[in-house]
Symmetry: C2
Subunit: 427 residues, 2 copies
């Protein structure tokens, strides 16, 4: 059906039939008082995979925690706060990640959680001295791997991935052997959106006795993830992208229940301690997923995460993922037809993508700036990509249609030519 | 003057002369709409050293970041957010910590920051295999030290401290030798409030070639800290106690400017990277204090920290610390006179204390519960301590007076006897 969209009315018809259409009103728009501006000059925000929009319920939820729980409740509110990280984790587990209760914890940042679980995973595979990661993975993943390897005297084996098509399982298979302790891999590639098969990679690694530590940052809330059925052992991810938890929102970590007792993470903080308030002399990690906690949890920020996770869970991740495929299919089809200067830099098959797609263009940096000035918000990604993340919960098909129109206009008029070329510092 | 306070009117006279009296109205009270309830049954919150009160300006500051910067600005707000952690760090440096610009960063949790700087410090002292910590220090400090030592094959040398009087410098000196890489120590002890001499400890450690990693959690915002003049090399601390940043607020870290280029922390995240958005292949730590950052910073939570830090800076840390000494002096003097069943478990000399004091009582747990039920909020601390933290910015002398009255009444009537004894889990 997507392939037949050639007019704005066709896109509007898709919106009329969209089962998730009502969820747009759960988010703050760009009109007065957060209403949705549906006018022709409205902002077309296609960067929800970088920073998700603000849910309408979030300001009140945060204000309640600030004013009631902190302001009025003071230390008495700790009786609620001590269970917050696990409660939101369980909501994520059930509604978004296909995990069981007691397997997911909201904590720290994605980078910190990666570090914690990578060290824990390597320590759980004594005698093995290799960590496998993908040469094209997100910088923080590669840097954390390099840092852990440097400190533990491990070897990093980087596997090459096609920066458009993603990682080939045969390439990964060739990198696996009895020396590999842990494979670190993003389920959805940050640039191309390429999606790998969680169950297949997990099974492949397991054949060689290795653990996989998944980075779900671009996957959580955009594709169906089934950690439990897929046999996943370890995962981390971000909540400020498709989960709409807010800038720098706390991350999540997942550890398969059966592994928890055997794993110890390296940062021995008091929130990971059994019987924490006894303040005993020796560190004795808590049973269960709490042992992967470290310091006092970020209560205000986690309140925002809870709202975002709740919306995705209510919409249903299957429906969200289906709409993500449809929106990106539409973008690809329209680009094929109207944007010949752009080259698709993502898998063409929607089943092999997350909810974002990239296009290559020699002047991608200038194009991105020209689009932002025309109210279309994509992301530039090195080396020459424009990346679009039409978040399913609040992006309409007509928004994608209009964004392509504006992009076609920029290209037709050469408006981007007037923008400066990229300098090394991008903010 | 404090020693002569024997009536409520005397305490009221101290309040009338208090140069910080107006700062109370910067905080939310327990009356309607956050006003201050000054009635006889009001809550007497003496736990500001555990969780500081809500500044009146915080809800609006957080709402502005949520609604304007996130909701309306979306990714465009990153141009402000990238400098937030350093901007609030610089405010802390100048107003609270006696540090220079570019030496303090708001980041992660105290436990995580301790871990980062402890590993960095140990790595900066190659060939040394001992970490010194205090056997009576806060649990997370001891646990983090134990975890780092276990992973790096170091030996922990615990020095004993008097749990009331704090650490004796001669005891510390006896534990120092050429094997010591880092000394981890709280400037203000979490239980007794005992304050050690920052410059003296730093100089002592330096004689032996060791670094001191200070935990300023109970010191920041309660005593005058002069990291620069004191020669401090490394420090971390908490912002949710006397800095009133909110539950689980991000912590801060300090690294002396001259040391920064030689130190590398172990969690190599993308926010510690030079030219971060180039997303280059190799981790290359940023120059300056930014290299101690890790993941995407917690923007919403840091907005609350900024408000809290600003109030302390405006009040002036010298005035805040002076009032802290006066409030705790009053508490000690009144306890001497009216609470013979309690034994002071903190230094008697205010110059050797932070802004909290503890008392020992065999039924400390039951006493704490009885007080909470009578609107006085202290903290129980093992093994048999009741700890009072009358935060100088919003606690009046008359509040301390009235708290002692209620405590005297509990002891006189034996009301605490009816409370259950402590079970291992305290929440």
């Amino acid at each position: 059906m997507i392939g037949t969209v050639t007019t704005r009315a066709d896109a509007q018809a898709l919106d009329a039939a969209d089962p998730l259409a009502a969820f747009r009103d759960r988010f703050t728009g760009d009109g007065p008082d957060g209403s949705w501006d549906d006018g022709p000059d409205r902002r077309l925000y296609l960067d929800g995979n970088s920073l998700g929009r603000l849910p309408r319920a979030t300001p009140a939820a945060v204000a309640r925690v600030v004013e009631q729980e902190w302001g009025a409740g003071l230390v008495g509110s700790w009786s609620q706060w001590v269970s917050q990280a696990g409660r939101v984790g369980d909501a994520l587990a059930a509604g978004v990640l296909g995990a069981r209760p007691g397997e997911v914890l909201v904590s720290d940042s994605t980078s910190i959680d990666l570090f914690k679980l990578l060290v824990a995973g390597c320590d759980a595979r004594p005698g093995r001295d290799v960590v496998v990661c993908c040469a094209d993975d997100f910088p923080t993943d590669r840097y954390v791997v390099a840092g852990v390897a440097a400190q533990k005297g491990l070897t990093v084996r980087e596997v090459a991935a096609d920066i458009d098509a993603g990682l080939d399982l045969d390439v990964l298979a060739a990198a696996l052997d009895g020396r590999v302790a842990v494979v670190v891999l993003s389920l959805v590639a940050y640039r191309s959106g390429a999606l790998v098969d969680l169950a297949a990679v997990t099974a492949l690694a397991r054949e060689h006795g290795a653990l996989v530590l998944w980075d779900l940052s671009h996957a959580a809330g955009s594709v169906e993830v089934d950690l439990d059925a897929g046999g996943a052992d370890l995962a981390v991810g971000c909540t400020y992208k498709h989960l709409n938890g807010g800038p720098g929102a706390p991350a999540f970590l997942y550890v398969r229940r059966e592994l928890q007792a055997d794993l110890r993470q390296p940062v021995w903080g008091w929130f990971g301690q059994r019987d924490q308030f006894a303040m005993g002399p020796e560190y004795d990690p808590a049973p269960g997923v709490d042992r992967f906690a470290v310091g006092t949890p970020p209560v205000l920020a986690t309140a925002a995460v809870e709202v975002g996770v709740g919306i995705t869970a209510e919409a249903g991740i299957a429906a969200v993922a289906a709409k993500g495929r449809a929106l990106t299919d539409l973008l690809v089809a329209l680009a094929d037809e109207r944007l010949p200067a752009l080259q698709l830099a993502s898998p063409r098959d929607a089943a092999r993508r997350g909810a974002h797609v990239s296009f290559a263009h020699p002047q991608a940096w200038q194009l991105t700036q020209a689009l932002v000035d025309r109210g279309v918000v994509p992301d530039f990604r090195t080396p020459d990509r424009v990346r679009f993340g039409p978040a399913p919960l609040y992006t309409r098909f007509v928004d994608v249609f209009d964004a392509v129109e504006r992009l076609a206009d920029v290209l037709a008029t050469g408006a981007h030519e007037g923008y400066p070329t990229r300098r090394s510092r991008v903010t």
